[in-house]
Symmetry: C2
Subunit: 82 residues, 2 copies
C-alpha cells in the first residue's frame, strides 16, 4: 500500500475525520492509528451496502468511488498516523 | 456514564479488542481513545441489524444483550483508555 497516495485521497475525509485522523465531531470515529485491516473492512462494508444506519449513508457515498487500491492506501495512511 | 461499570461489562470484549482496547487481531478495531459518541452509534447500529457484513454478525450477537446504559458505560470506558 502507498501511504502518500492514501494521504492524497484522504483530503476529502478530513472535514469529518480531522486532518490528523482525530475526528472533529464526536459521533464520528477517530481513524489515526486504527488497524489498517479494520479500516479496509469498514470501507468495503460501506461500499457493499452492509452498513445501513442513517449515518452510514454518508460513508457509503464516500466509499463508492474507491477502488481496492484506494482503500488499501487510505487504510495504510490512517493506520500510520498517531 | 459509569466508566467502572463499563470496564466490568468489557471483560467479554477483551478477547478481540484487547484488555487495553488495542485489538489483538488486525481486522478488528482498536477502541482505546475512540470517541464515545461513535462507539455508542456503532453498538446501536449492530444491535439494530444495520451492519450486515459477515464480520458484523459477531458484533450483533455481542450488542444484542446490551441496554442503553450498558452501551453508554462501555463507550465511556473505551473512550477513557489511551
Amino acid at each position: 500500500a502507498d501511504i502518500n497516495a492514501g494521504k492524497a485521497k484522504a483530503a476529502v475525509c478530513a472535514s469529518c475525520h480531522g486532518a490528523d485522523g482525530h475526528a472533529s465531531i464526536p459521533t464520528y470515529p477517530n481513524l489515526a492509528g486504527q488497524n489498517a485491516g479494520y479500516i479496509e473492512a469498514a470501507l468495503l462494508a460501506y461500499k457493499a451496502g452492509q452498513r445501513t444506519s442513517p449515518q452510514a449513508a454518508i460513508m457509503k457515498s464516500m466509499a463508492m468511488p474507491l477502488n481496492e487500491q484506494d482503500i488499501k492506501n487510505l487504510a495504510a495512511y490512517y493506520s500510520s498516523l498517531k
